[in-house]
């Protein structure tokens, strides 16, 4: 088999394939594969102020991290954030998608309005949230509104439980439209006959139809949204850094709610400890894998097999 002479067309194909794929594959090897291998090696080395592999320390970096309260707190932070964001995003984007597909007039307008925040960056959104919307002074918009109901101004970005309001709302505002588009596409795939059959059976469009037709048939879409969301939540950085961050040198309010990536950022770039930073990245990766597997368990990925 292997010794057979390649026909001319196949030989031409061989080199064409190699040339076509080479740029992408080279890039992936240099900027993804090598980094991961190097990162793994660094995570078992002491590497302060250097990225060279000189001083093997075994699992010490990992052990240090598991004893480090700040790191453990960062994991807790992201867990809390995820508990707000993931169900919030699913409920919100699904709700909007259902409302929009059921509306006759102004569908395009509503879709654009909810989708538009996608054009905005996390940095600019954080600016709006921090300086005007959730400003702790009296001139913040939310403080103006709650004053109307007789509530005293709240220091949104510098007190512990309140800080979740700006953090959660900013991400929901930015990302809900994106998932809404995915849900709208999913809803449009549902055959209209199913709804007609339901109407014949006496069920109007409403909660019953949603529960028995729309939601179950969107199961794959929901799984997709859930998966992407959970993976993304572990990368949260921009809004925490910009809403809570003080100056470049201090970490001001970040202590309130510091997600893993912000912790790793300070460890690696402010403290220049790349060994511990790499170890942290792999612990986070492990958490992502675990939560993905748990998701599969909870939503019952294997249900079809049984």
């Amino acid at each position: 088999m292997h010794t057979r002479i390649m026909p001319k067309a196949e030989r031409e194909g061989f080199w064409a394939f190699v040339l076509f794929v080479a740029p992408l594959i080279t890039g992936l090897v240099v900027f993804t594969v090598i980094p991961i291998v190097w990162g793994l090696l660094l995570s078992v080395n002491e590497a302060r102020g250097t990225v060279a592999l000189h001083h093997f320390v075994g699992l010490q970096n990992y052990i240090l991290l598991f004893q480090n309260e700040a790191f453990l707190n960062s994991l807790k932070t992201i867990l809390i954030y995820g508990l707000f964001i993931v169900p919030g995003t699913i409920a919100f984007s699904l709700g909007l998608a259902v409302l929009i597909t059921n509306t006759r007039k102004g569908q395009g307008f509503f879709r654009t309005v909810f989708f538009m925040p996608m054009a905005c960056s996390y940095v600019v959104a954080s600016l709006i949230w921090r300086m005007s919307l959730f400003n702790g002074m009296r001139f913040g918009l939310v403080n103006t509104v709650i004053k109307f109901f007789g509530v005293a101004p709240v220091a949104w970005t510098s007190t512990a439980p309140e800080v979740w309001f700006p953090l959660v709302t900013v991400r929901l505002w930015l990302q809900v439209g994106f998932y809404m588009i995915i849900y709208i596409a999913g809803i449009q795939e549902i055959p209209e006959e199913l709804y007609e059959a339901a109407r014949v059976d006496g069920a109007e469009r409403g909660w019953v139809v949603f529960r028995h037709i729309t939601f179950p048939l969107l199961r794959n879409t929901t799984l997709f949204v859930l998966f992407i969301n959970v993976v993304n939540i572990f990368m949260a950085f921009d809004e925490f850094y910009n809403i809570l961050g003080g100056t470049f040198s201090t970490t001001f309010n970040l202590r309130l709610a510091r997600p893993p990536l912000v912790y790793l950022y300070t460890t690696s770039f402010t403290a220049q400890d790349f060994g511990v930073g790499s170890a942290g990245a792999f612990i986070v990766a492990f958490c992502i894998v675990i939560s993905t597997l748990l998701q599969g368990r909870f939503v019952g990925l294997g249900r079809g097999i049984r």
């Binding site: 194909g13 993804t32 054009a119 940095v123 588009i181 795939e189 850094y241 990245a281």
Partner: protein, 278 residues
């Protein structure tokens, strides 16, 4: 029955109207603050709209302020986003075409490798990639900011799916006319992939323009700051001129918003495809 239905749809529109209003508030704030004076913004009561509007004054001030590198930031962002978008599409479409159309013994393995890297989250590669970029002496260079973002496995995957569905008869006609694989790709496949290219391109451009963490880490020198980093630096510094930073943000928001409105149809298509096929 009919009356009930009518009432329901009215309620729905009212509810969506209220939600739309809430969703538009941040955009309203950015416009309001951009054309106001700081004293108006931090006044005792919420100022609904700055009157008189300080459009020219504030623009002039922004132009004249040498501390605020808004224009350096815009230039850097434009350069980075255009380069990244172009090469991402080029590399991805080449690879996607080869995977879909060129027979190759290890084609499956190459595809599996691409899918495997597609699954690796950014959090994992972020610090290790910095390490490699540092080893290559590319910290504080545009190459360091741009290069790692040129290789989109997602785009390659989408192109592959698209070319698989592309009618093979057209390409066979091209082959008869003597086109090689490169000719087939550049003359037949790519021109027919305009829709998906625009969709992937505009999403890549927006991602790149709005990216924050990577440019923050690599472009440490203020001459390399992207517009997002510039805004962040002024937001997290102690003294800020509020209307100026909002006007700067407004300027940063304009290119992507224009792109968004002009190409919205393609963006929706792109997301829909990824949702259905991913």
């Amino acid at each position: 029955m009919n009356k009930k239905y009518y009432l329901q749809s009215v309620l729905r529109v009212v509810f969506m109207g209220v939600l739309s209003f809430l969703f538009l508030i941040p955009f309203y704030i950015i416009l309001r603050n951009a054309f106001a004076t700081d004293r108006m913004i931090i006044g005792r009561k919420w100022m609904l709209w700055p009157w008189p509007m300080h459009i020219l004054d504030n623009l002039k001030e922004l132009f004249a302020n040498e501390d605020v590198n808004i224009f350096t930031g815009l230039r850097n962002s434009a350069f980075i986003a255009v380069t990244q978008t172009f090469f991402q599409l080029l590399f991805a479409s080449l690879a996607g075409y080869a995977l879909a159309r060129i027979p190759f013994r290890w084609s499956k393995q190459v595809f599996a490798f691409i899918i495997a890297t597609l699954m690796i989250p950014y959090t994992v590669t972020f610090i290790p990639t910095y390490i490699v970029v540092a080893k290559l002496q590319m910290v504080n260079t545009f190459a360091g900011i741009i290069l790692p973002g040129l290789f989109s496995t997602f785009a390659a995957f989408m192109y592959r799916q698209f070319f698989l569905d592309f009618p093979i008869e057209i390409e066979e006609a091209g082959k008869l006319e003597g086109l090689g694989y490169f000719g087939l790709w550049s003359r037949l496949a790519l021109p027919n992939a305009r829709g998906i290219s625009i969709a992937l391109g505009v999403i890549a451009f927006m991602r790149s323009w709005n990216a924050f963490l990577w440019p923050l880490v690599i472009g440490q020198n203020s001459s390399m700051w992207t517009i997002q980093v510039v805004i962040s630096v002024f937001l997290t510094s102690q003294t800020i001129i509020i209307h100026e930073i909002f006007l700067g943000s407004l300027v940063a928001l304009i290119p992507v918003t224009v792109l968004f409105f002009v190409l919205q149809r393609f963006i929706v298509q792109g997301i829909t495809m990824s949702g259905v096929k991913g």
